[in-house]
Symmetry: C2
DNA sequence: TTTAATTGTTTCATTATTTGAACCATCAGT
DNA sequence: ACTGATGGTTCAAATAATGAAACAATTAAA
């Protein structure tokens, strides 16, 4: 692993843990030496990616991330487009709904709205969704080219739960099912007791760029629920894809 | 410069230039070798910080930045707090208004609203504001501790325009003036034909954490304008500081 | 108050990664 | 087919990263 990835890993740690963290805590979490960790944090700090509290000496995410995030959002905002859809879908179903964007072999959850029910699926900001072990991933694959699918299936697949599918054959079967139905379905493949339905979001050319999913406690994911949520998520994904392709002109005319 | 800083510099380049960029373009802009640049871009890409268009092979900022930016914003959002103030101030004055946050020796512009006048000050997203050469910086310094000021004045100060102040004495004089008036004033110290008034934003303890400024084409920055904008920016900065300290409880009660 | 323990910071010889010139591959235009 | 760009790859040499250990500073315990 290169030095850059290690440093970026520190950002991930700061993002995942709530609140600021001390040097040794970060070093332990990352598995790096104190000295190494510190040098990286200092370097990140001089670039504004983290800030160190002058009193407590603890580190936190820095303003540069906000700046870059906002620039990225202005240029290409799957987030902005999906947000209203995710919201309404979550209100309609009162279940957790999330959109994700493909990047570097995985889907990155970019937009989540939680159910208000006492038992609900909880999703962290920026949760990583492996292609082989999530409904979103299967939906994404089912909208991908055969060569892409092949390449992904050749990669090693982590077994997250006892129900995670890790063989090419079983994944291909899921993909075919998803293609037949128009949406994908996963049952506890990434986390125990979580089931999801998902559909791919596509760009103008039809190439998938992400996915949207409804994540439900497996208890509530009955056949009835599937047949209600499935078509819903399929329709929503299509609407988002359409808005991403065609409607830009119309939107800018209106503003 | 460490490898990490170099890689982060690439992100900066992608942020500054509009739209995607090819490998050689980025390498040239950064002044690194193609091979070096590529290795870094690949590493950034595998972490989601940049994405490469599969067809054009061009690179762009990646979704990880949005994710981290949003997490940071949730935890500590000077941006969210200042945005409404920046907006109303910009409407009131019809001039460019921007807020900035201190990080690693400079102020980072985090929130800008532009004037609608044909001649206006234009400010890039994430513009870096050196402490010695901007009204925001002087305002920030004038709210800082003597030891901090001293440390900053010992650093080398870049001469951006013919009017940039680069001696400790002249900067100290500006700081004292700002303290006397309650707001700072700069005249073409960073860019030609741009004048600004600014005031510091403080946290609970009174320590400055950023600044807010009105940036005006020097032509329009008359004595009248200064005496109108100055007290305005001072009052706004105080309101923001108050909201950052005390009002969190009240706001959450209201929601 | 003294002692011990914890955390942050610096150093420096060792080690491993980064570097960049040269090379190859691919594509677009002539 | 030739030419000039651009993206991508290789590998010995150069350099930067590493981490154990020492040190400092702060906090907790005795």
């Amino acid at each position: 692993m290169g030095t850059v990835s290690k440093a970026l890993g520190l950002l991930d740690i700061l993002a995942r843990t709530q609140g600021p963290k001390g040097l040794t805590g970060i070093a332990n979490a990352a598995g790096f030496d104190k000295a190494t960790t510190r040098r990286m944090l200092v370097e990140l700090a001089t670039n504004g990616y983290v800030v160190q509290n002058a009193d407590s000496r603890e580190y936190e995410l820095g303003p540069a991330l906000q700046v870059l995030g906002k620039i990225r959002e202005e240029r290409f905002s799957l987030y902005r487009t999906t947000l209203p859809f995710v919201r309404t879908l979550s209100e309609q179903t009162n279940e957790t709904v999330h959109a994700s964007e493909y990047s570097a072999g995985i889907l990155l959850s970019i937009c989540t709205e939680h159910s208000t029910k006492p038992i609900r699926v909880n999703l962290e900001q920026g949760q990583k969704l492996p292609l082989h072990a999530t409904a979103s991933g299967i939906a994404f694959l089912s909208a991908s080219s055969p060569t892409f699918i092949e390449a992904q299936l050749r990669k090693p697949m982590v077994q997250f739960t006892s129900k995670t599918l890790t063989s090419s054959e079983s994944i291909l079967a899921s993909i075919h099912e998803a293609n037949a139905r128009g949406y994908s379905f996963s049952n506890q493949t990434l986390q125990d007791d979580v089931s999801s339905v998902a559909a791919a979001i596509r760009d103008q050319s039809g190439k998938p760029i992400g996915a949207i999913a409804i994540a439900v406690p497996s208890l509530r994911m009955t056949l009835n629920a599937i047949s209600e949520f499935g078509p819903l998520i399929q329709k929503t994904a299509e609407e988002i894809s359409q808005q991403l392709s065609g409607r830009r002109a119309r939107l800018s005319r209106a503003s």
